[in-house]
């Protein structure tokens, strides 16, 4: 991959590039917390080495006549002390800069990414490689030989793979049963589009035990708790509309891909409190039913076909970007009316046994116009990163209280201040 080379955006990236705004910059942050203060020089060295294995991330975003596109550059990232509020705007169309940032503060390494560049899986892999190299450089003397080597990365072609296009098939029927309007959480917003982050760290073992008691996975159990936490704040009249959670799914587990870009699909969990009871067992049962139905390979294939059908339509191809953008933003605003909140589970983050003891925990969260809970686990810690522009924090409070009532207590870290 050489400087000046260009490539097209994948399907999800096209949407993120168009709909990025000051209110929702489409930026997410992955955090690795160590036990010691971060050494910036070693972190810079780690970043310098690892970025060469992910050359695709040195791209900038440019506007063409009909579509955005990426252009490879020889820009290299510089590590900086944390200087912006979490998940602030990264993409500025007049500044041709990198689309991600690595910052640090005390014991934390932050990777902030513009979603058009990569998804959570890509960011997790990228951050973990940086952390691995950092630990080996910094604590090499304290590690018993043989020191683990970094895994060989996927080839550049595999990393640059647009998996949406590769797995896309022709759509046979455009018809889709329309989704219902969802209950929308309303609240005044924090000043200056500040993203209020509340991290809740739990014992993974206790959570697993509780989830298994209900016969559910972590995603199913916590999604149910989230739905109920939202319902705790709803009036009887507001229950006319269902609570809808959007859940991103990593498609790489269903369609083999080593893509370092975006490759995910969104499934929904819809719960109607007018028709169904509000006890945890019922919500979990409905959640399981809906997730299992949508996480079927044929269903996901259909979803990919629908997503790519629009961008491959001749009308979309010949329409100039300047005209496409307002339409896409309108479509996006309409889709947002059909979702209440989001839950994203990236699963376990694993480091080699010899390196794991140097890391305390991971957490991640994303910019959003509503409330989003991002879940990941490392070792015995399961971390939920709540993020929202809202002033109200009652949903997060209910979530933590519900788990506290079954004996699972949280360690909270927040950026909300006096």
């Amino acid at each position: 991959m050489q400087t000046g080379q260009w490539h097209k955006l994948d399907n999800a990236a096209k949407l993120f590039a168009t709909t990025s705004s000051a209110k929702d910059p489409r930026v997410f942050r992955f955090v690795c917390e160590l036990y010691d203060d971060v050494d910036p020089l070693i972190l810079q060295r780690a970043l310098d080495v690892v970025i060469e294995r992910y050359k695709i991330y040195t791209s900038i975003l440019k506007k063409g006549m009909f579509w955005y596109y990426f252009e490879q550059t020889d820009l290299r990232p510089k590590v900086m002390p944390e200087y912006k509020t979490p998940c602030s705007v990264i993409y500025n169309e007049d500044v041709k800069g990198l689309l991600f940032e690595v910052t640090y503060h005390k014991k934390r390494i932050n990777l902030e990414v513009f979603h058009a560049l990569m998804d959570g899986t890509g960011a997790r892999n990228f951050l973990c490689d940086i952390v691995r190299f950092y630990i080996i450089e910094r604590y090499g003397n304290d590690i018993e030989p043989p020191i683990p080597k970094l895994n060989k990365p996927a080839s550049e072609t595999q990393q640059a793979d647009d998996s949406f296009s590769r797995y896309s098939q022709k759509l046979t029927s455009y018809y889709k049963t329309p989704n219902r309007m969802a209950y929308k959480i309303r609240s005044d917003r924090l000043d200056n589009n500040l993203l209020g982050v509340i991290e809740a760290h739990f014992s993974l073992k206790s959570l697993l035990e509780t989830a298994h008691k209900y016969g559910a996975t972590i995603t199913e159990y916590l999604s149910a708790v989230m739905i109920l936490s939202i319902n705790d704040t709803m009036s009887k009249r507001e229950e006319d509309m269902p609570v809808v959670l959007t859940v991103p799914i990593n498609l790489r587990t269903y369609f083999p891909s080593e893509s370092a870009r975006n490759f995910f699909g969104i499934v929904n969990i819809t719960y109607d409190f007018k028709k169904s009871p509000n006890n945890i067992e019922s919500v979990i049962e409905e959640t399981k039913k809906q997730l299992e139905a949508q996480m079927d390979i044929a269903e996901l294939q259909l979803r990919i076909n629908r997503l790519t059908a629009l961008e491959n339509h001749i009308a979309a191809k010949v329409m100039p970007l300047a005209i496409k953008n307002p339409f896409m933003r309108l479509g996006n605003a309409y889709a947002e009316k059909k979702a209440t909140a989001a839950v994203s589970n990236i699963g376990r983050i694993a480091l080699e046994d010899k390196l794991a003891p140097f890391v305390r925990r991971f957490v991640f969260y994303t910019s959003t116009k509503t409330v989003q809970a991002c879940i990941c686990s490392f070792g015995d810690v399961l971390s939920v990163g709540f993020s929202s522009n809202f002033i109200r924090t009652d949903i997060q409070r209910n979530f933590v209280r519900r788990l506290s009532e079954v004996g699972i207590h949280a360690d909270i870290v927040t950026n909300l201040g006096d």
């Binding site: 979490p86 500044v95 014991k107 870290v413 201040g417 006096d418």
Partner: protein
Amino acid sequence: MRYCDKCNITVDGPVSYCPLCQNILEGESDGTTYPKIEKPVFEHKIYVAIVAFVSVVVAAMCVALNIMLYTSHKRLWSVFVIAGILCFWISFAMALKKRQNIPKSIVWQVGIISLMAIAIDKFGGNIGWAIDYVVPILCICAMISMKFVTRIKQMRMEEYIVYLIIDCVFGLVPAVFIALGMVHTVIPSAICIAVSIIAMGAVAIFQYNLLKKELHRRMHM
């Protein structure tokens, strides 16, 4: 680590109360995990505000004067003053918005100022000074200033070639006006068309590969 007894949680944050239930926290704070971020300040805001206020004062005085002197010359000249001030502000706002990308800003300014000049000309009796003088001179200035700015900022051709081409295309618009018989003084338009053709020729001859590459990626469908 501080503790909230109502939520049964430990809290780390720049707060003395629980972020979930606003209960007072117990215990000592041992430093925060998130740094305090200063709110971004646009330093020149006050100067922009002063110039804006001066514009409003000037506009108000002109309107008052116009009303007082109307009976003697029966002309609404204050409308031109207000239009001029508005045009200045539109141009200034656009320059400010696109200040990080000067070639793009130049292209926008040419477009906006040309349109505004034509609009004012039409409103003022369609004398033709906009199409005769403003448009061609603006295009020539744009092409020259783009060359200067990109040389000073040491910009690579790839970064601004698109804007240069758009400028040259603007430079051919006077040819359309001549063909439609809307031009009375042809000299400025003729010079503008010549400069535009020379600029496009230079790019096509000396930068052919670059131009082809850049057009291919910008126009991909």
